[in-house]
């Protein structure tokens, strides 16, 4: 197991390193000079050149790449030249919005999706199953940002129960800050919950036909007990994988949904950074997103191997 974890960790680190290199060189190809930007239009060429040297921009690309990666390992992502603040601080500030939102959406989708999937599988072919599957189909088909707009329209504009958008920092008023996430998180969770319900249903239906369920029944358990004790646990394996993958989708979804609700999260930061051509910021934010996705995959891999010992053996070369 330790060997397995170690190997996976190496893979994880290699992916990140490669991703960082790709991102660095891609963005390095871009025209546009931060030094010129910072010093303004009227600056003399000498002043710009001076600033370039000061910012370390005249070093060859691979040196700057190494410096950047070494900096990130120390938690120093460089300085954003439009915001005139350390990138790490900016990212951290925005993550305080994005992360709770993602976690809340994740919880909602699990709490809604899994039970619905189980109910659906238990009632396979009957009315509840059909109803849930139609709902799930709808949930997958509706874009989450549209669903978010509908939520705003109903709960913020018509009923005025909740704010239509914006965000209060947690330090100022934790209650208000939570309220700001009440609408975005279900918007984000809807497609995920639908997918989860479908995967859970498929997995459970699969498991229900297995021999060990029949054995459990022969032992004298009722069908409900057999499915609950033996079925659900086995069916959770594919669900776990999907949950991990969903994190990636959730992050993508957050970036879009933040725009619906005007939340000052990572996504909005990236968009401002792009429109202002603040490449250091874009670079840092992209890396953070990729770290989040890859780390989730890594954790899922480990969890998977913990739950299912067969996998550990199979992956040994």
């Amino acid at each position: 197991m330790i060997l397995f974890a170690l190997r996976r960790f190496l893979g994880f680190a290699a992916t990140l390193l490669l991703a960082a290199v790709v991102i660095f060189y891609l963005l390095d190809l871009l025209p546009g000079d931060p030094a010129r930007f910072t010093s303004g239009i009227t600056a003399t060429p000498e002043a710009v050149a001076n600033l370039r040297a000061q910012m370390g921009l005249d070093a060859p690309a691979h040196e700057r790449l190494l410096g950047w990666i070494a900096g990130m390992l120390r938690g120093d992502f460089g300085m954003s030249y439009t915001q005139r603040a350390p990138v790490a601080a900016l990212l951290w500030e925005r993550l305080a919005v994005t992360l709770p939102l993602t976690v809340m959406a994740m919880i909602i989708s699990v709490v809604i999706g899994l039970p619905l999937g189980i109910v659906s599988a238990r009632a396979r072919g009957k009315a509840p199953d059909t109803a849930i599957m139609v709902l799930a189909q709808l949930g997958v088909a509706v874009p989450n940002f549209w669903f978010g707009m509908m939520l705003t329209l109903v709960f913020a504009v018509a009923l005025r129960w909740l704010p239509p958008g914006g965000f209060t920092p947690r330090g100022e008023n934790p209650w208000l800050s939570l309220r700001g996430l009440v609408l975005p998180s279900p918007a984000l969770a809807l497609p995920q919950a639908s997918i989860l319900a479908r995967v859970m249903r498929t997995a459970l239906v699969d498991v229900q036909g297995q021999d060990f369920i029949r054995t459990a029944r022969a032992k004298g358990l009722t069908m409900g007990e057999a499915v609950w004790r033996h079925g659900v646990r086995n069916a959770l394996l594919p669900v776990l994988t999907i949950l991990g993958l969903q994190f990636a989708f959730l992050i993508a979804g957050t970036i879009i949904v933040e725009n619906v609700f005007y939340l000052p999260g990572l996504g909005r930061l990236i968009f401002t950074a792009i429109s202002e051509r603040d490449l250091i910021l874009v670079r840092g934010a992209t890396v953070v997103l990729i770290v989040a996705v890859t780390a989730t995959m890594f954790v899922v891999d480990l969890a998977y191997a913990l739950v299912d010992p067969r996998l550990r053996e199979r992956s040994t070369p």
């Binding site: 189909q137 940002f145 249903r201 993508a252 874009v282 996705v293």
Partner: protein, 310 residues
């Protein structure tokens, strides 16, 4: 697998469609939208770039079947043209994904170990870049545009197809007829092309329809945040973006019920139906084909939600 493909396309076709109403609904709806998009190539009720401020925010009427938007553009024309954009972007993205991913997956299955390792690591690596991140990078590089969306979604599709192709080809590669082919002197490339590809085609098609519907959604998302299609061209995501800004510019306190109504008319009435129905139908078509084409022992959990547990 052979059997199920034949069942799909043979004389029993009529009977088959009768037994699968979902497929018919999905197919008809998808065709309808595709047709709508295609018609927009040669004809729309009004030119989509025609701005007429005097006629903005009109409700549905004979001259404008779906009313007009904030710039007085005809909604029906916009929807038609937007549908085409969404379809084309998603289809190109599927083409990129399948065109690169399937050969990769086949190569992994046919050549074995070193190639397999390379392909799997490569697709793992691509998986780390969700479409939106790719889109962000591409936008930073080339500026926003529909090509962006195609590239971003297509890149994201590559590992999906590579995985599906590799996984399903692997199960076929161990069968006797493949070994026979190898005995007859076929190299890995010939094995992949002559024996593996035809046998995994059904799964690839299924995955293609699923990725198509996902691609439509992804395009809507990218355009919505401004990374996809740019005006004056239009797509359904872009229309939602325009509509939302209208809805927030007119806060309820200032315009009262009128704003709500206007906003509601703007997007809920028009876009909701269109987008939801279209995605639903695309997804439904995917799922149905899935059920009819799917080979037995395969295991794409997300791809095949309904499996009869025999």
């Amino acid at each position: 697998m052979r059997w199920s493909i034949r069942a799909c396309g043979s004389a029993a076709r009529h009977e088959f469609f009768k037994r699968h109403p979902n497929l018919v609904i999905g197919l008809v709806a998808t065709m309808l939208f595709a047709l709508l998009g295609l018609i927009s190539l040669v004809w729309t009720p009004y030119p989509i770039a025609q701005i007429d401020i005097g006629r903005r925010f009109l409700g549905p009427m004979a001259a404008h079947w779906l009313g007009t938007d904030n710039l007085g553009r005809d909604m029906a024309s916009l929807v038609m043209s937007g549908t085409l954009t969404s379809f084309v972007v998603a289809a190109l993205a599927v083409a990129i994904g399948a065109g690169i991913g399937v050969p990769l997956g086949l190569a992994a299955a046919a050549w074995g170990r070193p190639v397999e390792w390379l392909v799997l690591r490569f697709s793992d690596f691509l998986f780390a870049f969700p479409a939106i991140i790719v889109a962000i990078l591409v936008t930073a590089l080339f500026g926003p545009g529909a090509i962006n969306a195609v590239l971003a979604i297509g890149l994201f599709n590559i590992p999906v197809f590579a995985r599906v192709a590799q996984g399903s080809a692997l199960s076929i590669a161990t069968l006797d007829f493949v070994a026979t082919g190898r005995l007859a002197g076929l190299g890995p490339a010939a094995i992949a092309y002559r024996h593996l590809l035809p046998n995994i085609m059904s799964l690839i098609i299924v995955q293609g329809t699923i990725q198509l519907s996902l691609g439509i959604l992804a395009e809507a998302g990218l355009s919505y945040v401004g990374l996809g299609t740019q005006p004056p061209a239009t797509s359904l995501g872009l229309m939602l973006r325009d509509a939302q800004s209208m809805f927030l510019i007119h806060p309820p306190a200032d315009a009262g019920a009128g704003a709500v109504h206007r906003a509601d008319r703007d997007w809920s009435q028009y876009c909701r139906g269109w987008i939801a129905r279209r995605h639903r139908s695309a997804a439904a078509a995917g799922e149905c084909q899935c059920r009819c084409l799917r080979s037995k022992g395969s295991s794409c959990a997300s791809a095949a939600p309904r499996r009869s547990a025999m």
